[in-house]
């Protein structure tokens, strides 16, 4: 009986076989999308990132919104990519879905960590947190080669993913606050960009922000720092040297080394101590123009108003 049970489990696939072997991953994604959702996609693997491209005719509707049908297709492709990524022996960390508009060269990118998917499956994180951990990117693309179906998939590094996620969280958080405080004149408007800079061997998370109508500029700095610290703690990411946050309009800069961030996470240092010790004057407004591509005159006028 024991050998029968062992055999049954082995036959059922409890052994070390994978549904999608490493060499079949892109093709499997394409097959699943075609067979189950009737969607023609191109799939690629780059390092530990697997991605699929879906080309459609209208990414945005007349109001500039993403139509519901596109949302559904996007979800179906992400489901197929995730499904294959979960059941393969290929080491995958990130799943990416790119939806491109053939006519207007607009693109929407959804990026998600495979570990986050596993956490969500196991109910270790809720739906809202799961959405917060998914990076959405929108922009223009340049066609590669002939035809719209070609694309180059870049491998995603965890630090870049985290920088993007932190910036997105701050953006969404401030947008939500602005909606809640819509009737108040002091609502915040914040532009933020996040990146991970390892070019000078320093490994720094950089967050650059333009914060308008700010009555308490220190609060914005702290909010960004809280978000960054929380995300890094949640992911247990420590392979960095510092976090740098610059508010160009309010001329302030917060630079914290890893030790300080870890101390803050361990509640050994307070917000006020961070401000007292690490808040300095930032670069001028003009230095930020290049970064955000904002018209100098408009920004300066806003800065003067503040």
């Amino acid at each position: 009986m024991r050998s029968f049970l062992a055999g049954a489990f082995f036959v059922s696939g409890c052994g070390p076989d994978y549904t999608y072997p490493a060499n079949t991953v892109p093709q499997s994604i394409q097959d699943i999308c075609l067979k189950e959702n009737n969607l023609a996609v191109k799939a690629r693997v780059a390092g530990k990132t697997v991605g699929a491209l879906l080309s459609i005719n209208d990414l945005l509707d007349a109001k500039g919104q993403i139509p519901r049908a596109v949302h559904e297709k996007m979800g179906q492709v992400m489901q197929a990519v995730t499904r294959v990524a979960l059941s393969t022996d290929l080491a995958i960390d990130f799943c990416e879905v790119i939806v491109r508009d053939r006519k207007y060269l607009n693109e929407l990118v959804i990026l998600r960590s495979l570990d986050d998917t596993k956490r969500a499956n196991a109910d270790a994180i809720g739906i809202e947190e799961s959405i917060n951990r998914t990076v959405f990117r929108q922009g223009k693309y340049r066609p590669v080669g002939r035809g719209n179906g070609n694309f180059i998939l870049k491998e995603v590094k965890l630090e870049d993913f985290l920088a993007e996620q932190i910036a997105q969280r701050v953006r969404l958080g401030f947008a939500r606050e602005s909606r809640e405080d819509a009737e108040e004149t002091s609502s915040r408007f914040v532009l933020i960009e996040g990146s991970f800079d390892a070019s000078h061997g320093e490994r720094v998370f950089r967050f650059s922000t333009l914060s308008l109508q700010e009555e308490n500029p220190h609060k914005t700095m702290l909010d960004i720092f809280h978000t960054a610290s929380g995300v890094l703690k949640d992911y247990g990411f420590t392979d960095y040297g510092a976090i740098e946050i610059q508010d160009y309009l309010n001329r302030q800069k917060l630079t914290l080394d890893k030790e300080t961030v870890l101390n803050y996470q361990a509640k050994r240092i307070t917000d006020q101590e961070i401000l007292d010790r690490y808040l300095t004057e930032s670069q001028s407004v003009r230095d930020a123009f290049k970064l955000f591509g904002v018209s100098p005159s408009a920004t300066e006028a806003a800065a003067e108003k503040n």
């Binding site: 059922s12 076989d17 999608y20 979960l86």
Partner: protein, 548 residues
Amino acid sequence: MFWRKLKLFWWNHWVKIVVVAWVVFIFWIPVAALRSIDSYQRSYMVAWLSTMGLQATISAVIFVVLYAWVLQGGLQKLKKRQVKSEGVNIHWKDVIGMEAAKMEARELVELIQDRARIKKIGGNIIRGMLMMGPPGCGKTYLAKAVATEAGIPFISMSGSEFVEVFVGVGASRVRQLFQKARRLAYAEGGCIVFLDEIDAVGRKRVFSAFGGTEETNSTQNQLLAEMDGLKEKDENVIVIGATNAAEDTLDEALLRPGRFDRKIFVDRPDLEEREALFHYYLSKIKFDESIDVARFARKAVRKSPADIANITKEAALIATRSKQDKVLAQHLSEAMERIDLGLKKNRKVSEKEMQITAYHETGHVIVTYLMHPTDDVFKASIIPRGPAGGVTYSLPKEDEMFRNRDWFVAQICVLIAGYVAEKVKFGVTSSGVSSDFQHAMRLAHYMVWSLGMGKTESLGDYTSIPADQLSGSVKDKLNAETHEIIQSCMRQVEDLLKKEHVIFDRFAQELIEKKELDYDEIEAIFKEYGKSNPRVASKYVPKGGPNK
């Protein structure tokens, strides 16, 4: 030939083949289902299923532990009701009255103390004593006295403490109780287990045709087994049970010799005992020495010691509210009335209603006083109490075991006297007679149908025969006799009230004026018209005479 062999094989082994095929099939279904899904989902599901097994195991362990704990008593573990004999401290002298029961109990104590001597002679040691009787008559008190006098520990439990929603808890508690009693007996030389309200577990067992039994059956079985166990192990544990249920409601196995060897009936106290009880409870409070305790003892007929204790407590409360420093006779009187008749109502009564009530109650008073062989009127009142507009408070001289035809007739006369009084005085009657009529009819029916007290003396209890087996003529005859009794009583009462119309009017006017008349006032009015109480015995004449 091959097919024949195959068929033979099938006939011989078809059950095994079907079972094996079924097992393979039911194993194959999940295997096939798992194979059809992605490896990640498969691993996830297998992992999840394995944790399910763990969860089920943990749940099962928790359930088993909890169930075992509940069987051991759980939250309601056997309460520490063990009391040392010196802690009880109730001696024979504190047990008032119940001489017969006390004598039996004394004997039991002697047997407990002289255990060695009895064994030497070869006699059987008493294992149990069952005390029966109405509630509040001192069964528990007597048991405590037994414990004090025997000088051994005393464990008290109520029968209801063995009853729980969980199956097996009752039996478990019985085991715990006797285990504890045995240990105490081992250490202290003996132990008394007192099971109050033993009828909760000692009722006749019910056996189901389907093999199931009630939970109380297993509790009782355990009790029987433990009591038998005492005999086998020769431990000095005596079980005293108390119940106010009738003996025939208890299980026969419980009553047989060797379990409850002795049965003591602890009855309500008689007149002398009630007087002693009044003295005992009054001695615990400050009271007026001139109180005629004998009269209150007379008034407290059919009352238990607990009732008498309650009356004295209530009297003390009334005295406190009246800002008196001691209990007076009027306080005791008021306490008794409050307990027996209920609180007075402040309902406004019209002049006409008051008159009708006064004459109605007067009818009851006169007929009771002049016709009733045993009952005395202690109070007449036209102050509303409860649903009644007025009340005539009469009590028998003493509890009697048997009642004769005269008593029944007098009782019916008293009951319908209110109706007759209204009819004689006003020509019309009110709805206030309904309750009186109900009781009167029931008594007359009982006399004729059950006691053979009808005019033609139709002997036998006709109520024991199903109604459809009685002929119409028999029923008609019995009903006619019942009717005749009522009519006869009515004529007697009417004659009496017409004859005594002066006293009748006088009483009614007194009632309208004073609203209430007490024993002494009633006696005085009758004496004024030359009517003496035919039932008064010299011992119970109030101190200083009835006019006091």
